[in-house]
């Protein structure tokens, strides 16, 4: 017995992923997330222009500039992915296009990891070679002043945007169960931390500590590499049909347990075993149920599917299969349930 819940009305098509209609909260979150990503793209473009104008020969500023360009990747990945994910299943794509999210997540995590590694390499070689960064003066409007102040100003500007935008995106990532948005929030964190590090570094250079900039960058790069690596690992393992995890990939998703619990609450069900994978936003559920007595009726099976779909808007594509014995090819989901990888 299978159902993928086609809503009869067809809907406006604004708030849906494939056949999964979004509840109003999620539809609003999606709209807001799209708007935030467009704002991010516009802001980052302005930051790229500003940093290009002030970077001079500073290697640190050059790295910040490359980073700002890579920061465009996650918002673009998000906008492309949600656009694709909306499409209804076709004959060629019977599962729909939800996996576009996983590809977006993979793309965004590679960008994040690249930013971290580039910064780490740059800072590391700077320290090893004991490079003394030259920061001279700027002549502007008849005034001569130390260029460091200009760089700090530029970094305050480029840091403030990501600081605010990243914070606004995190709750939306949870609401929509969107991992591209989550990786993007990590990218924004990388951005503002790098900006803060550069400010500290330039001030350090100002008082004669040549290693300050590279030192601060190295510390920050370690955190970015860790975030990038974690996102990359989970994005790849989600593509390998890992059991569904929470939006931040910290834990197995509670719904993976709730599915069996809901089935076992039904009077006619003796035992059940299910597989829940994250297709991107929505989950694909295959549940095998062992009836207590005779084979269940079609009504009973339909009720079981309904019970699962009532758990959460993410549970949409559901297959419930009555079996004589639970398949031993599927490992017990409780094994390693607490393992948070």
């Amino acid at each position: 017995m299978s159902r993928t819940g086609v809503s009869g009305e067809g809907g406006q098509g604004v708030g849906r992923f494939g056949h999964a209609e979004l509840p109003s909260r999620q539809a609003a979150a999606l709209k807001k997330a799209k708007r935030l990503e467009v704002i991010t793209l516009v802001f980052m473009a302005s930051a790229i222009a500003l940093v290009a104008a002030t970077m001079g020969s500073s290697q640190a500023m050059k790295t910040a500039w490359i980073e700002d360009m890579l920061a465009l990747v996650p918002p673009l990945a998000f906008l492309v992915a949600v656009r694709r994910a909306r499409k209804r299943p076709t004959a060629d794509h019977p599962y729909g296009f939800h996996r576009s999210t996983a590809i977006g997540h993979l793309t965004a995590s590679v960008a994040l990891l690249t930013v971290g590694l580039a910064l780490m390499y740059d800072a590391g070689t700077g320290l090893v070679r004991a490079e003394h960064p030259p920061i001279g003066t700027t002549h502007l409007l008849g005034q001569t002043f130390w260029s460091g102040w200009l760089m700090i100003g530029a970094m305050v500007y480029t840091g403030v945007g990501p600081f605010i935008l990243g914070r606004l995106k995190l709750p939306l990532a949870e609401e929509l169960h969107d991992k591209v948005l989550y990786a993007d929030a990590d990218m924004q964190k990388a951005d503002w931390m790098t900006a803060a590090g550069t400010i500290v570094g330039v001030l350090g250079i100002g008082i004669g500590l040549w290693w300050a900039d590279s030192g601060a960058a190295l510390l920050i790069s370690a955190s970015i590499v860790r975030d990038g690596w974690r996102n990359l690992r989970h994005a790849s393992s989600a593509l390998m049909d890992e059991r569904a995890r929470t939006y931040d990939d910290k834990h197995p998703h509670p719904l993976t347990r709730d599915v069996d619990a809901a089935l076992q609450r039904l009077a006619w069900v003796g035992d059940s075993r299910s597989r829940v994978r994250d297709q991107g936003h929505v989950f694909h559920v295959e549940a095998f149920v062992q009836p207590v007595g005779d084979a269940p009726s079609l009504d009973q099976l339909e009720d079981a599917v309904e019970a699962l779909r009532d758990l959460d808007w993410k549970v949409n594509d559901v297959v419930v299969m009555p079996v004589r014995d639970l398949p031993d090819t599927i490992p017990d989901p409780r094994a390693g349930q607490d393992e948070s990888k």
């Binding site: 001279g136 003066t137 130390w146 964190k189 803060a196 350090g204 250079i205 500590l209 607490d338």
Partner: protein, 171 residues
Amino acid sequence: MTRREGRGSGPASTRRAVLAIGVGLLLGGCGLTIPTDPDGTLDQVRSSGTLRVGASPRTGWVELDGERAPGGREPQLVEGFAEHLGADVEWTVAGEEHLVTMLEDGELDLAVGGFTDANLWVDKVGLTRPYAEVVVDGSTEAHVMMVPMGENALQSELERWLDENKNGGGS
């Protein structure tokens, strides 16, 4: 194998470390001027009363005439800058590459030789902001002087002085 993610702890500890560096810089910064030379070149020049300058010949910019001190547009500017710092110039005449090595080794404070901002030593020495532009064969040459890499107080002081004196001292 259980490994805790500790998403909160990582960035937080980094943030703390950055904050610690920041506070350290602020405390250490009391009574210091910005910018300051990591190797104290500018202070050294002022206290010793000697500006060690390397010169490499280029017609019009640095002219050599036997045993006499280098002449031409740039040596004149350098003498003026040394006077501004209360120092005398100690000249070293050598080829460009040798001058760069000496700057790297901290044996020179400044080098002139009709260098432009398109020169190839940019990752070994500090270049001043261009202080003069000349059109040669239809393309613009932006002229710079060389200072030890990252000696930002000296570089800033020189750039500032050149802004004010490039026309008076040089022509």
